[in-house]
Every structure is written in C-alpha cells, then in structure tokens.
C-alpha cells in the first residue's frame, strides 16, 4: 500500500471542507457580471460564475440570466472574479502569542485580504513540530470559518536545527510543507537530509535564507542608509549564500526546495541559474520587497523593520522583474503581527516583521499592475494558481468541479490604509496613511461567503 | 510708520559732550586712581574708549578699559523672543576694592544697568560703582540713576533714541526717531 492509501502522509485538509453556511437553505451562489479571470483555463471574459455545493459548477457568458430563490446573487459588475488567493507564508502566532494574533483572527484577516487559504508557519510557542500540534492548528483553522488554514510543520524539532521532526506524522495530521522559517537551516547537512526525506511525502522544504554569522545583530540592509543611521547592516550576501547553497542541495537530492521571501538582485540571478538547469527550486517574494526600499527606515521607523530587510532600488527592480517573468513563482505575505509595545522601541531592539494579509492585493496592484509591470492575469497567477501548484494545494482554478474558493476584487478602487481598522490584531504596517489601489470586495471559501466589503 | 529722524546731537556736539563728561568724571572720582571703565556692549564700549582716550590726552593717564555683555543676565530672556547674540566680556581683573565707572549709550528703563550690576558682582566687590551715560531719556522702571549724563531728552515712550558711533554706524551722533504707531 502506498503511504497515501494507508492514510499516513495524506493531506487531511483535503478530506474535510468547510460546510456551506450562506443564507439558510442557499446552496448556490451566482457571481454575476464580473470579469472572470482564470489564467489556469486561459479565461478572461465577462460573465456569471455559478457555485454550487461548495464547488464551481459553471461559467455562463450569456447575459441577463435569471436566478431563483435558492441562489444568492452577488453583483460583480466592474469587479474581477478570480480563483481564491493563497498565501503560502504567514505567521498566525497561535499557540503561544495569542495576544498578537490567533488562528481565528489571522484567518479572518486573510479573508479580508482576499485569501481563501493560508499556510501557517510553525514558529509558534511551542513550535509546531509534531502531529498533535499540527492537528491543533488545522482544527483551529476549521473552527474559524474563514480562510482555510494549512499548517506547515517544522523541519527540525523545536526549530533548533539539530534533528528532523517527524515529517510523515505531521503530513498525516495535515501539514502541507515543512519549514524552520523564522530561522535559517544553518546546517547544510540537515538541509540536505530534509530535502531527501521530504521527497517521500511529496512536500516542499521551505527555507528562510539567511547566513547567520553574516547577518548576526543586523537591523536593516547593509548600505549607505545603515552607515548614515549607525545601524548594523545585513549584507545581501547573507541571503544569496544560502540561496545558492539550497539550489545546489536541491540539485544533489532531487528534492523540492522553496525559497522564502527573496529580496535581492543576486538571489534572483541565482534562481534563474538554478531553473535553467532544471533544478526543483521555487521562490516567493513579499509585497513589501516589491514596493519599499531601505529608505523607508529613515527616522528609525520600526514598521519598516523586517527580515530579510528592505533593500536598494536596484534590488526592488530585479525582484519585480523576476515576479513578472516567473523566476519568482509566487507572492506570499510573510504576515508577522507584533504587539504595539514591542515595536514601540529603540530600532535595534524592535522585533522583525510587518502584517500584510489585508494589504497584499492592493500593494501588488498599486506597485506592479498599475505601472504596467505585470497585468492582472499575472497577478492572479502569482497569488493563486502558482501557490496552489507549488504547494500542491486544492484551489488555484475556477475549472468546473474545483473547490469554490473565489476572490472578487475591484482593481481600481482607491482606499486609505488605516491599521487601526485591521481585522488582524497586528497594527504594524508601513502602509498606514498610504492611499492604495485595489480592494477585495468578496471572498468565498468552499462556496461560503466569508468576507464582504462594506461600502 | 517711522518718521524722519531728528538730530539731537551732531558729531561736533557729541564730541563736545564727551569732553565735558570726561571732566565731570575726574571731578566725581577726585582723580583717576584705581579707576576702571566698563563699557556695556555694544556702543557703551566705543563711548567708554572715547572717554578713556580723552583722559589719556588730558591727564596723561591710562585708565583700564573693560567691556561687559549683559545678555546672559537679562531679566527678560524667557520672553524677549529671539535669542539675542551674546557679545564678548573682557574684565580680566579682580574688582575688589576698585572703583568702577559703567559707561552706556542710552539710559531708559534701567534694566540693562541692573543686569550689569549683577554681572559685576560676579567679578568681585568694587569699592564704588558709578554710571555715566551719553543720553538719559527718562522712563525708569527701576530705581537706577546716572551720576554723569551727557544729554537729557524728553521723549514719548514709543519714540526711539539711537546713538550712532562711527566705528559701528559710519558716523557719530544722537538721533530721535518718532513713531506714529506704538513700537
């Protein structure tokens, strides 16, 4: 019997789906008159998308269809209807730091941001490195009744980088990948073993690329700004050294390495090198590395402090181009809520990270789509189709029979970011006060509306 | 709106006045023994120098000349608005037992002299301090009086009396500037 048939190593979350909970008795949703944009089928046309019993039933282009009482009709004229966005990298802080986020508040924040599914990183307290912990995260996510939550398990026990966690048990409990994110995998030997062992279960190993001795004590990108501000810098080589290391190990092992939050021009060049050689490397970039540079730190703004740090304009340009040409496969948020008190500190002492679930679409739209660097179809690919494919998750398509995870958004709507109004408990965003373009109007998970924008 | 300035003393009259004041100084102190002139920044310094020069010429005696900037002793620093520039103070003597003549250009409210007295106290204890001013325009707010006065003028509170010295202003004289509206 293959591991899949025996039940060990299957993805538990595939079997269960959130129940439909729309208007009582309603099991159909008609998303009417929107621009249905599904690059997985090469569809870009106006029409009605019909969802039934938690699945995509059909796509009707004929106008003026009538719907009966058992249909909930959502008017999508002027809006884009896309396969649900998936965030493969976020931190939901539960268990351990429920004061800054819970799985429930995080899943709701994700829904507000248009995400129908998120993958929760395991650097919780205690670390999610065993089947019981993974099961806990999965069940908390289901109870939230918002975006789906796919747990990611740790690579090593306690994320200490010494011995492997039980990948098989974790996958059986619902883990979709393994990662020690928060920390790098400092030992090349451990990374190699993880890549080999993960092959058994068909899951990616996601690495936070940071060479610890080069980066130690650093608070921002090493460069002219760090020299002026008197802050210890993290050189771009700290990321690039681990990027090439992981690519070479992926080549040696045949495993799938997924490189988290890439931020430098050098990293992009190395990924290209790896992909040209057919190595199984995938990569993600975060909205902040596509929109902000190290200058955002000026004035010691702790809401511009994250790891990897904001880089130079040349780096930002290279990462944008890589998102455009697919060298970087997908956009992930690295949503990292922190308590106000923790960020209200001397810069060097403040923790790394910013929230991102509720601003991701708007940031990518404002900084990449609006200036014409990518089109909306590419945005949908990088935020939905590619994440689903890379992590082998359900969704990422509006093909007939797919799960009814849909994101409806207005690509032109302007809005001013007010962190005080975030659904997430975290307020640490550098975009506070910015006017952005693009807003999620409706999020549907498994045929159930989990978010509807007011006004 | 400022009207045209009226000349109170032209340069010749000013020179005459200073000569007379020098005579009065010698009379007041009964000679120049143990006497130091201290001019108040800024124009008091130039006037003090002129008086000392006159004494040097007439009596063949060199009276030591000091200068005093009273900015840091002003009683209105918190409310004067813009921070005034602080000029140099040169008083390289212990004033204990000495006789001091303060020299200033215009005596009005008396607050400048009060500040000067406070500052002099930090340099020692003179046996006598006297005050010589070129112009006394009245309007005292403190019980201060000048021992030697060059000219008394009677002006409205909103008028300005300016002393000009060639070293700073290009010419010598005393002018009165009447103001139509309050200063």
């Amino acid at each position: 019997m293959s591991p899949r048939e025996s039940g060990i190593g299957n993805r538990e979350s595939e079997r269960r789906e959130p129940g439909t909970g729309n208007r009582a008795g309603v099991r159909h949703i008609a998303l009417r008159g929107g621009r249905v944009l599904d690059p997985s089928q090469r569809i870009d046309a106006t029409g009605d998308l019909i969802l039934a019993d938690g699945k995509v039933e059909s796509f009707e282009t004929a106008a003026g269809a009538a719907y009966g009482d058992d249909y909930e009709v959502v008017d999508c004229s002027g809006l884009v209807v896309a396969p649900g966005f998936i965030d493969v990298h976020c931190h939901l802080r539960e268990p351990g730091r429920e004061d800054v986020e819970t799985i429930a508040t995080g899943a709701r924040a994700a829904a507000v941001g248009g995400f129908t599914a998120v993958c929760a990183m395991p650097n919780t307290q205690p670390v999610t490195d065993n089947q019981a912990a993974v099961g806990f995260v999965l069940r908390q996510g289901q109870a939230a009744n918002a975006a789906r939550v796919h747990p990611i398990g740790a690579i090593s026990l306690g994320q200490e980088g010494k011995s492997l966690a039980e990948f098989g048990e974790m996958v059986g409990a619902g883990a979709v990948a393994v990662s020690d994110d928060g920390r790098p995998v400092a030992s090349a030997h451990l990374m190699r073993t993880a890549l080999e062992y993960a092959r058994t279960f068909g899951i990616p190993v996601a690495d936070h690329c940071e060479e610890p001795t080069l980066a130690a004590g650093g608070a921002m990108n090493e460069g002219l700004v760090s020299a002026r501000l008197g802050l210890k810098g993290i050189p771009s080589e700290a990321e690039e050294i681990m990027v090439i290391r992981d690519i070479l190990l992926a080549r040696r092992t045949g495993g799938h390495v997924h490189l988290c939050h890439l931020s430098t021009k050098g990293s992009v060049e190395l990924i290209r090198w790896g992909k040209e050689r057919g190595i199984r490397v995938t990569a993600e970039a975060c909205p902040h590395h596509l929109s902000l540079t190290e200058d955002a730190v000026d004035g010691y703004n702790t809401n511009a402090k994250m790891n990897p740090p904001l880089r130079t304009p040349e780096d930002v340009e290279a990462v944008r181009e890589a998102v455009r040409d697919g060298t970087i496969d997908l956009v992930a948020t690295d949503h990292a809520p922190h308590h106000y008190d923790e960020k209200e500190r001397e810069f060097a002492d403040a923790p790394n990270g910013i929230v991102g679930l509720e601003t991701a679409l708007a940031v990518v739209n404002t900084w990449l789509v609006k200036p014409g660097i990518i089109d909306l179809a590419t945005l949908v690919d990088r935020m939905s189709i590619s994440p689903a494919r890379t992590f082998n998750l359900p969704g990422g398509s509006l093909r007939r029979g797919s799960i009814a995870d849909v994101t409806v958004f207005d690509a032109t709507r302007e809005w001013k970011v007010d962190p005080a109004k975030f659904v997430s408990k975290g307020r640490n965003s550098p975009y506070g006060g910015h006017t952005l373009h693009g807003r999620v109007m409706c999020t549907i998970v498994g045929g159930k509306i989990v978010h509807r924008a007011s006004g | 709106m400022a009207a045209k300035p009226t000349t109170v003393l032209d340069s010749r009259a000013l020179a005459r006045t200073l000569r007379r004041m020098a005579d009065e100084i010698v009379e007041l102190f009964d000679g120049v023994d143990n006497l130091i002139f201290v001019g108040i920044q800024r124009r008091g310094v130039q006037l003090s120098d002129r008086l000392a020069d006159i004494l040097d010429e007439r009596e063949q005696v060199k009276v030591p000349r000091g200068s005093l900037d009273i900015t840091l002793y002003r009683d209105d620093l918190q409310t004067v608005g813009p921070r005034p520039v602080v000029g140099p103070t040169k008083l390289p003597w212990d004033l204990k037992g000495k006789r001091v003549l303060i020299v200033d250009d215009v005596l009005h409210t008396g607050r400048t002299v009060r500040a000067a007295l406070d500052e002099l106290a930090d340099f020692g204890r003179p046996s006598r301090i006297a005050l010589a001013v070129l112009v006394d325009r009245g309007g005292r707010e403190l019980p201060i009086h000048a021992d030697i006065v060059g000219k008394r003028v009677d002006v409205a509170p909103s008028d300005r009396v300016d002393v000009l010295v060639s070293e700073l202003d290009g010419s010598d004289g005393v002018v009165l500037v009447r103001r139509e509206d309050a200063a």
Partner: protein
C-alpha cells in the same frame, strides 16, 4: 518658542552650515565665563535639566553638568540600565515620566542608534543627544569643529582625517557631517574591516595606511579603538593595530607639515595614539575638553530660547 535649531539637537546631519556656525559663534563668549572666578551666569536659572545616561560616561556627563550648572540650571543625573529589553523601564515609560515631572531639557546618552530621536518624538522637553549607539554625538562633533576653527581660523578647504574604528563611531559620523558642511575636506583611515562598506558614498577620501593619511592631512582626529563595541574578529590584535595604524611620533615627524592632533577621549595610550603624541606640541586634546563645556553651554542657551536676532539685540530697543 522655536529656535533656528528646532526643539532638539539630535544630530549634525540635518543641520545647515548657518546653524552650525551659529552654535560655534555662540560658544565663543561662553568660553570666557569658564575663565572667571565666579563661573556662573543666571541665564537658565530655574530650568530643570535631566542627564539621562544609559551608558557609562564620566567625561561627557561631567562636561554637560558643568555647562548646565554654569548657566545656573538645576541638574539631575539619572543613570539607567541597558536597553528596554533588559531590566528596567522601557524608554517610552521613561519619557512619559520625565514629561510628567515637567523637565525642561533632557540630555540623553543611549546604546541604541535612534534612541535620542525616539525620545524627542515623545516628549515636549528639549532633547540633546549625548551619543546614541553608533549614530551621532553632535556636541562632540561641534566641539571638534570649534577647536579646529580656533586653530585654523576657517574650516573651508582644510583637510581633516578621522582615524580608527569609523564603523562603530558616532563621533566619526558627527565629524564627517559637521566638517563637510563647514567646507572642510574629510578623509578616513583605518582597516577596511572597521570602515563602513559604503564609506566612499559618504563623500570622504579613504586611506588604507596611516602614513598616507598623515601626509595628506592638516589635522587628525584619532578615534578610540572601541573595545566594548567591537564584536570579535574585526582586527586580530591591539598590538598589530598600533604597529600598522598607530599615530606615533616617528610617523608624525615624517609629515610634510605640522599636523594638529585631536582625540575625543578616553585614550588608549599605546594603541591608537602614543603618549608623546597625545602630550606633544601639536595636540589640542585639552582644548577640546575646554571647548566642550562652552559648546554645550551654547547649545543649551540656544535651545532654551527663541531665534537670535542677528543685529541690534545688544543695542536694545526701548528696553534700556
């Protein structure tokens, strides 16, 4: 009331040359007060100033204390421990408590870059940065400028080289900004591992060898090799540092001109500077200390009041 300096003195980088000149000019008359028998003027009588030192420092704190007391201010010294993360009150709470006590001015020294700005943004009192992490030490930069200006007459076009651990030095950064704004030509000299990678982008000449720096410079500002800041591994040993980079009498004798010697102190004699240089005829190190009190008095005076009239203030309007 606003001054041309604003509410706080946090750094030299944002100041204009006019503002720097104003501070240096204002410092001149304050030097004389320290020569008097009674070293006190009543200017800041009734003001309360807190010296908030999170890092140990005798020299700077005492200098500020003298400056404050000579202006007749009431001073309180608070030595607080470490950073917010370790024991004790957070910087935010410290700020709020000070404000609640109606302090007029705070002089802060802290180990985190940006700490002075952090405080200044949260309290209404004037804040003076006495050194924040590796960012800036503006009053030290100013007193160095004053010392050089006294000797040179003008800083325009003068070649000044900063020697040592520039990477970790807030004195170096303040000097670089201050000197450049006054028109001087700035150089740095040290092992590359102790110079910021982007140093050339700051607009300074870089010398890899001390001999080249000495040949080029009209003044050397020699930085203390900061043992307490160095993470291991930037240089192999103090011995080698002295042999390769130490400013010694022999090296100075080979200079084509007399080179002024400055050092912010405290000195590691025999490491970055030899004793006969520190005590030698071209050393202005003690002048720096004297000027330090005058500069700090000038800064306190300027921050505590309004913008200076550039003329006629001493002449006075109706207020004679």
């Amino acid at each position: 009331m606003t001054t041309p300096l604003g509410k706080d003195l946090l750094a030299l980088e944002p100041l204009t040359p006019e503002q720097i000149r104003l501070i240096l000019d204002t410092a001149e008359p304050f030097k004389e007060i320290s020569e008097r028998a009674i070293k006190k003027v009543p200017t800041l009588r009734g003001s309360t100033i807190v010296n908030l030192f999170f890092e140990a420092s005798t020299r700077t704190r005492v200098s500020f204390e003298f400056a404050e007391k000579r202006l007749s201010a009431d001073t309180v010294n608070v030595t607080a421990s470490g950073s917010s993360v370790s024991k004790g009150e957070t910087l935010v709470d410290t700020a709020r408590n000070l404000e609640a006590m109606r302090i007029d001015m705070v002089v802060i020294r802290h180990s985190a870059s940006g700490a002075a700005q952090f405080l200044a943004e949260r309290i209404e009192s004037n804040v003076i940065n006495a050194g924040d992490g590796t960012h800036e030490h503006p009053t030290q930069g100013l007193l160095d400028l004053l010392t050089l200006r006294d000797r040179f007459g003008s800083l325009e076009g003068r070649r000044v080289c900063i020697c040592g651990d520039v990477l970790h030095s807030r004195v170096a950064r303040s000097n670089i900004w201050g000197l450049k704004k006054m028109g001087a030509i700035v150089g740095v000299c040290g092992p590359r591992s102790l110079l910021p990678n982007a140093i050339a982008d700051l607009g300074v000449e870089v010398f890899d060898r001390i001999e080249a720096a000495i040949e080029w410079a009209e003044a050397l500002n020699i930085l203390r090799l900061q043992l307490e800041r160095m993470q291991a591994g930037y240089i192999p040993s103090l011995r080698e540092y002295n042999r390769v980079f130490g400013v010694t009498r022999e090296r100075l004798e080979r200079a084509p001109r007399d080179v002024l010697i400055l050092h912010p102190g405290p000195m590691n004699r025999g490491v970055e500077i030899d004793s006969d240089v520190a005590d030698g005829p071209h050393s202005v190190i003690l002048d720096q200390v004297t000027n330090g009190v005058a500069v700090r008095m000038a800064v306190l005076y300027l921050l505590a009041g309004g913008a200076p009239e550039l003329a006629d203030a001493a002449k006075g309007g109706s207020d004679r």
